[in-house]
Amino acid sequence: MSGAGMGGVWRIPAALAGLSIVGLAAAILGDGFWDWLCWATLSVPLAVCAVKLWRQWPGRSASL
């Protein structure tokens, strides 16, 4: 996960943004499959926040 260069900076944020857009739109288009698609994609940004926080919480062994 390299932060070097602008491409590296935007890769993950852009992916999370894309998933968010798909997720927000999905559930309005229908029920069943569309709801599941919505829940799955919108959970990713939240999971990323949680995992990053968990792994780097002060006192835990610092590993990204």
Partner: protein, 379 residues
């Protein structure tokens, strides 16, 4: 990006965020609870009675109107509103006979199957009503609602400017790095950047739709004064005889749009209808199409549809803003996701504020600091 334009974006991000931060925290806390308003109303016994037995027939609209009018015989029916999610809940607005607006009368809520009359409590009397009022207008009415709308727009600008300044800041940093061991400011910056960029699209959408909903009186008012007024002006005939029943009006309106459901019916003489024409507004019934309204003008004396039309794009935008703000279109899992995003947004707000509190006193001072020179005085 030039250093000057980056400085400009930083200023925009700092000030739009700072101005809306206090209100934003209120919105996050109240919004976090309001996401579950159905569940809370259920627990508190504040929900409307929508019970009916399977296969039970709806009461005719006319008998609902008659029941409503018993609440205050000096008032006349002006508007019927139908809940898209709950078939049994019908709202009837009663006003003074000469009233064209919706300020002086009262709402009556009826169970459309049993006719049971339910008192609408004042917002202050219920938990959800209280939180909603705090969320929407800070208990200060129309002016407060416009204020919250402007705060919402500032928040939208803050998310966009935040994205712009994120790139240059993160140039040499790995995504998601959290340097908690490096002091309060650095730790808060990192948390702010990670949580902010990860939830940016959600925050942008919820902020923008919230601002649009805040301005809804202006948006519906504009539609009423332009397209709807032009439509009713094409049918200026006055009332000369008795009106047909409201059920016939509803049926005529529905027949003009096969497969749609009733959304609103406005009686002749109020500002959303003609002088002798009812406005019947209908909507579809999927998650998407229930937000698309169409309107038919129905002649009150003949029960014939005089004109039928869709609604303009900005009304569709307004109607679609609802689900994307409330997160109520994907079941309980989406409500929980909405609540978690709200918490993350609250963390972004607080950490952003801490970063500002802990800022280096001036740019010159921080530069001198960085170069190791002795600080002369504070800024």
């Amino acid at each position: 990006m030039t250093p000057a334009s980056l400085r400009g974006w930083r200023l925009v991000h700092r000030w739009t965020s700072l101005i809306c931060s206090a209100n934003l925290l209120i919105l996050c806390v109240t919004g976090l609870i309001l996401v579950f308003h159905h569940e809370i109303q259920h627990l508190m016994g504040e929900e409307l009675d929508s019970s009916y037995t399977e296969g039970q027939a709806r009461l005719p609209l006319q008998s609902l109107v008659d029941i409503a009018q018993k609440a205050d015989p000096t008032l006349v029916p002006k508007l019927l509103s139908f809940d898209p999610e709950d078939k049994a809940v019908n709202y009837i607005y009663l006003g003074k006979p000469e009233e064209r607006g919706f300020d002086l009368g009262r709402w009556v809520v009826l169970n459309g199957f049993t006719g049971a009359n339910q008192m609408l409590k004042q917002p202050e009397e219920t938990l959800v009503g209280f939180l909603l009022k705090l969320h929407v207008d800070l208990f200060t009415g129309f002016a407060g609602q416009m204020f919250v709308g402007v705060m919402g727009l500032l928040f939208v600008v803050s998310t966009v400017s935040g994205l712009v300044v994120y790139g240059p800041f993160m140039k040499k940093l790995a995504f998601g790095i959290l340097r908690f061991g490096r002091g309060t400011r650095i730790g808060n910056i990192d948390l702010h950047n990670l949580f902010g960029v990860a939830t940016l699209v959600w925050a942008f959408v919820v902020g923008l739709t919230g601002a649009i909903l805040s301005f809804s009186p202006l948006i519906t008012g504009y539609w009423q004064k332009t397209e709807l007024a032009a439509m009713t002006a094409r049918h200026p005939e006055p009332m000369t005889g008795p009106a047909v029943s409201i059920d016939r009006v509803a049926a005529a309106g529905l027949a003009a749009f096969p497969g749609k459901d009733l959304a609103f019916i406005a009686y002749p003489g109020n500002e959303y209808a003609g002088s002798r024409h009812f406005s019947v507004l209908v909507r579809g019934h999927t998650e998407l199409t229930q937000r698309l309204l169409s309107v038919a003008l129905v002649d009150a004396e003949t029960g014939v549809v005089a004109e039928a039309a869709g609604t303009p794009w900005y009304m569709t935008v307004l109607m679609l803003s609802g689900p994307f703000h409330f997160g109520d279109y994907g079941g309980l899992p989406l409500q929980i996701i909405w609540a978690l995003f709200t918490i993350v947004t609250g963390v972004v707000t607080v950490t952003g504020f801490v970063v500002w509190l802990k800022r280096p006193r001036t740019r010159a001072a921080s530069d001198r600091n960085a170069s190791g020179a002795k600080l002369g005085s504070k800024a």
